[in-house]
Amino acid sequence: MIEFLPTPQQERWMAAAARLHLRNHPWIGQRTGGWSAPSFIARCAFFVLGLAACGLTAAVFEILSRGAALLAAGVTLLVAAEWLILRKRLFHAGVEEALWTGGLLMLAVHFVPSSGERGIAVTVALVLAVAAVRLLNPFLLTLAFSAASVAIEVVGGHHVWGEHDVAMAAGVFCYGAGASALLLARSRFSRPSHDHMVSWLMVIMPVCGFLWLVSQPAPAIRFGTGLASGIFALAALIAGVRRRSHAPLLACMASLGCVAYQLRDLTALPVKLKLIVWGSAALLAALGLNRYLRTPRHGITSLQLGEGSAALELAQLIGAGALAPRAAPQADAPFKGGGGMGGGGGADGSY
């Protein structure tokens, strides 16, 4: 019998093994039914390589069969992706996700008439949704919902680019999707991937809703988006603390960022001072919380439990390096090209 996906039980074993760093153990291999998933970092690399393969395949078929290039490339990519899933039993490996999504998008673009934004927006949303369901991919599902919000705006008669209509329907849809995900997360899912899908939606969609409406200068809309983000942040905080879940807490932080942005004119301070003052306030609040939770309170602690994720550790290091000033703030000193003395003349003096 062909297995199109790992069973929920097999997927749970894969998740448990990943959390305890036992992913490669043969005992686990027996329970996962041979389904294989690399680490998050490798998955990202495979996804990038898969996207490159999609583009190159389309270019090859563009030369071979100009009229039906997208059809041929789409079918080829889908067959390759299904072969990787069904025969090589890849699940959440990145490469099959890129090939499957790219292939279906090419087929859709081939068959859907290219006239008008309407058809394209709806098609992209549908393709991403189908790919997300087939591959159980939370990122693709979130993209599908975002594309659906674009489709709602386009179908509603507004142009996405070049007009300043109020994207109320799209904004409400995104906030609604985030709130629904927050409510839905109360359910118990058998598949970890369903859990991740709901988590992604609750974090990203309220921010999307905010972005649809943030450019509107009308005070009512500004107040409304601030209030909506504030209410969502509060609900997510309560849900996160009660359920002991990270996704609602991240959703709360993202929505708090939206609220902070809408409160930017609360004081007449210049931007630099606002950044310093509000940054310091956030730093003090985080330090206070860190100190308060050093002793676990109702089971919640600020201490790290177990090993951190390699991807997050790497992101932290890159982030710290990215914050460092780049070069000297020189205005009148001449640039010494070609490496300068001891190779140190590369800095260009911009600040």
Binding site: H25, Q316, A320, G340
Partner: protein
Amino acid sequence: MILAMHSLESEYRELQAAGLVDEAAASRAVGLERGSIFSVFQELRFALYAAVAAITAGIGLLVKDNLDRIGPITLMAVLALASAACYAAALRTHWQGRERSIGGDYVLLLGALIVSADLGYAESQFHWLGTEWQWYLLILAAFHGVTAYGLRSRLVLCTSIAALAAWFGIEGQAAVLFNVGGSAAGLGMHAIGCAGTLLVWRAANGRFGGPESFESVIENFAANIGFWGALALCLTPGARLLGLILLAALAAASIFKALRSKEEIFAVYGTAYAALTLCCVEAQVMRYGLGVLLLELATVIAGALLLWTFHRHAVARA
């Protein structure tokens, strides 16, 4: 009642029964599943990073605008006081023999970033180093390096490496790489020089008993800077051969490192960087057509297969 979205409790118990994890690890995992213990460490880390980023951006703007009303001496003194306060907190923890918390780590990082801004501003105002102003970046790299070793901070080590890279002229401007015939070759040589310096630093760290946790930080920066340097050279017509030789050497070293240390990230560097760089070179040196596209496709597939082989190798070794 605490509702978990999904619970892997039964799987953890089975893993314990099978002897794959000890009782302590299983109990901790079960506790996390049940919500009897819950860590907000990652959320705090994210909030601390955002706060430090906001403050640093604000200070950057403040310094950039010169603040004639306040005056350079006052501004420098205020920044020095702020950074001293950050360092004092870290020093106090260090002298008390306690382990610094995540909050303490980020306060120390903020102190280091303020020192960077302060020193840069001072140099721009007083021109202490004259036309050799670039050396202030090296002084900064050395200062942060000493602080990082003294206070055992990986985050400050990152700022030290970033200052060193800036001294070499590497500022993360990807657009320069594709400016063929422009400054890409110079950038490439500087990047290779920087990566080489980092490897010497890494060797010295190991030889003189530096913290083990610093090694992966230096190695990751060295690998990324080195591969970007090789890419820049590969995209420069006169330096292409040198770029390809360096690319091959870096890819081989990365994969060897991945196989030896089981750090998958180096396998990713060795395969993905190499495959994508080769694709760029093929597109440059060959005339556009079916041949070059098929070659590029084969390169990408070979890169993916190599990475998958590493994954299977890791499975087999386990």
